[in-house]
Symmetry: C2
Subunit: 455 residues, 2 copies
């Protein structure tokens, strides 16, 4: 056992007690009545950052909830790490499904149960404690560290990009470290090196100006639901590929190394199907499920509506039908460009018998930190050392839009060293966080700083 | 001017006053609080039937609202006519859009404005008055007349078929006369000799057992909305025909005479498109709009829903997506058989990656009274004589399910001698009925009895 491991082992109970205090704040960013809880939670985080040995700790007010900042600069020549996390949490509804008070943490089965345990208070707290550990064991940090904890991640980080812009110099860094993702499996050190982006569109098809009687008009006019369905059907080809012309033009194909890495991840298709209660999976031909969900772009309808949705029969030809359709993107697809291709395609396949309105709802860029980069190497080494096991590599299918902002505004890649599990009920009742992962996360974070400083 | 026309002319103001009284009853069958109004309205109708010279007038209680019956039997050898109409009306919402009280009839611009004016109190009242007219002018009716006015048409006539079954003998007849449809154009004598049937289905597609995050699972599982859309897209071929195997097998094709008749109906496609605000019409290739809406079967989605329908972006792959899909049928398609073909087809095109539930919501048989039949000839002659113009023939695209019941239970064809107009706001605010059509309707009804008795 090295000094870091020793220190963490002998202080872990105190770390957990402090984490419990952190989890007691009802920091639900979306509820206006929790504004004071948000402020107090930020103050708590600031206090813990100070105690860990960070300097210039400050709470920055934004137009929304505050951002906590702290730093410790070793020297001009040392590399600079920016750690990011968030102290805000999701609402707790439906509260009746919780087995304990979401804001009174409980330890059970080696896990800590509370809202925010895994997303993201527990995870961001690992880094506060790794800084404390390095300061305690080495007397200093091996590199320059900057640390921000924001309070609006669960509502889409509306004020983070402006904050990054405004304090660009203060936040200048070589790499960003975020722990807000999941391990591939319990006790399996996992490095996430890619995230998918998003292009979320809405399509509205208008046929006749008002709802019509299907007896009187059926056969004469285009039915916007049928037309919308036909258009959606044309969005995929028979191989499960997205059929929008140009859609794959900018896609960075998986390298053989990546495919080999992903193939190493244990994946039990039967269990997966059983868990989802489906008889067959479905996706793009020529790729494994892991590749399809993490490293390939996709198109899904997220919602559809039109006409009569009640009980029984109403014989109407509706005037309008709409759908929400989103595409998950991979590097180097650009959400705006994909949105334009989508709109062009939809309009090109719409018959003259209807009017079509296409609008962009939301977008987010994909990210990919190249395997072999310094940051990825350092993180993999750190995790392997902490867990005593070879690190596996994964690409996550979801999006973390701020990662693109770090790249765009600060010019820095992000290492996603998440220690959560997808089964830990984030955003759901009975959220929890494995305490063993917490401990190894503190150690991994300390090791990462050492490894990255070396390279 | 013959005796009938003379009598009607000199009594028309009284007829209209009596019709006003009929329209004052708030006989909304779907509202439980109008039960007493329904009963009183039935009593009023019974009283008017008695005064017109009908015998054995009686109010039959049903499990719902009462049916009013009356008859006048001339002789065993005379042909028997059954007249059908309904005294119940649609609700009046949205009441704020009415320009006068829906239950206080107003005469304006040669029309009577009130709920039920054209659908169907005003129209059924024409027959009460034609019986009175014949009794007054001829001292008797030219044939046996039976007359029922029901109170549940607007809620789907749930107790009419049982009533027909129970009183099959009392209601035995050679032909049924119904005025609950529309003229093709104002002052154009029109005979409707066909109605479309209906097969109304619901399809539910289930993918994964619960809603999934489209980032984590997009690419791995079938999305029930996309699948449903693909299935709907397969329901039509490129020629606008319904692509369900066997769908057209039982269709009675239009005869050349019918096509010639229908081609005589004035149809202004530009006005029609302008009215609907569509740039192009759409339907089955090889048929005119009038043929497509009246004499050809069709398939339309009446409703669709699944996933997220709110504002903004929710990146969900929903567990379920559903659609209401109905088919308008023509003679001799059978709703049950078509429902089975539909279900079989839907299941045959559903991929294994989803589960599909198909259910039947509602059905109704099409009807077609052959051109050249006694009833059609008599009605055409009557209308031409009353209007002084050649009668045109049309097939209506909607369904009147009771017509099939008359055929099935009583073995009688129905003549649809409607005097309404589709522009008279039936089921909408400001319902009205053209008083000239009312007057000519009374005369046409009397002529019809004379003509049908002759043949």
């Amino acid at each position: 056992m090295d000094k870091i491991q020793e220190f963490v082992e002998s202080n872990i109970d105190r770390f957990i007690d402090e984490m419990k205090d952190f989890l007691r704040y009802e920091s639900i960013s979306t509820l206006p009545e929790k504004k004071e809880d948000m402020q107090k939670c930020a103050e708590f985080a600031a206090e813990k950052m100070r105690k860990a040995g960070l300097e210039n700790v400050k709470i920055f007010q934004t137009e929304g909830h505050p951002v906590v900042f702290g730093e410790k600069i070793k020297s001009k020549d040392a590399p600079t790490l920016l750690i990011y996390g968030h102290y805000d949490v999701q609402p707790v509804d439906p509260i009746e499904l919780w087995h304990s008070n979401p804001f009174e943490p409980v330890i059970k089965d080696g896990k800590i149960w509370a809202r925010g345990a895994t997303d993201d208070k527990g995870q961001v707290f690992m880094h506060v404690k790794s800084i404390e550990t390095l300061n305690a064991t080495e007397g200093e940090l091996p590199l320059n560290v900057k640390f921000i904890i924001e309070g609006e991640e669960e509502i889409g980080s509306p004020h983070l990009a402006p904050f990054l812009e405004e304090y660009k110099e203060m936040l200048a860094c070589d790499v960003v470290l975020v722990s807000d993702t999941a391990l591939y499996a319990p006790m399996l050190p996992t490095l996430t090196y890619g995230l998918r982006g998003l292009c979320y569109m809405e399509v509205e098809v208008t046929g006749p100006r008002r709802d019509l009687h299907s007896g009187t008009f059926g056969g004469a006019v285009a039915n916007p639901i049928n037309i919308l369905a036909q258009m959606i059907a044309k969005m995929h080809d028979s191989q499960g590929r997205v059929a929008i012309p140009g859609f794959y033009d900018d896609v960075v194909e998986l390298t053989q190394t990546e495919r080999d890495n992903l193939a190493k991840l244990e994946f039990n298709e039967d269990e997966y199907k059983k868990h989802l209660d489906v008889e067959e999976l479905q996706g793009e031909a020529g790729y494994s499920v892991i590749e399809r969900t993490g490293a390939r772009p996709t198109l899904d309808c997220n919602g559809i509506w039109g006409g009569f949705q009640g009980e029984g029969a109403k014989t109407v030809i509706p005037s309008k039908a709409s759908a929400k359709i989103s595409m998950r993107l991979v590097a180097n697809q650009n959400p705006e460009k994909i949105g334009e291709l989508f709109e062009k395609f939809v309009k090109s396949i719409a018959p003259k018998s209807v009017k079509v309105k296409v609008s962009s709802v939301h977008g987010g860029e994909p990210c990919l930190v190249p395997l072999g980069s310094k940051a990825v190497e350092a993180a993999a080494t750190a995790l392997s050392k902490a867990f005593g096991k070879e690190t596996v590599y994964q690409r996550e299918g979801g999006s973390i839009p701020i990662v693109a902002d770090f790249k765009k505004i600060l010019g820095a890649d992000t290492v996603l060293m998440g220690l959560g599990l997808n089964t830990e009920n984030l955003h759901s009742p009975d959220e929890h966080f494995d305490l063993n992962h917490f401990k190894l996360g503190v150690i991994s974070s300390a090791y990462f700083m050492q490894e990255f400083a070396k390279l």
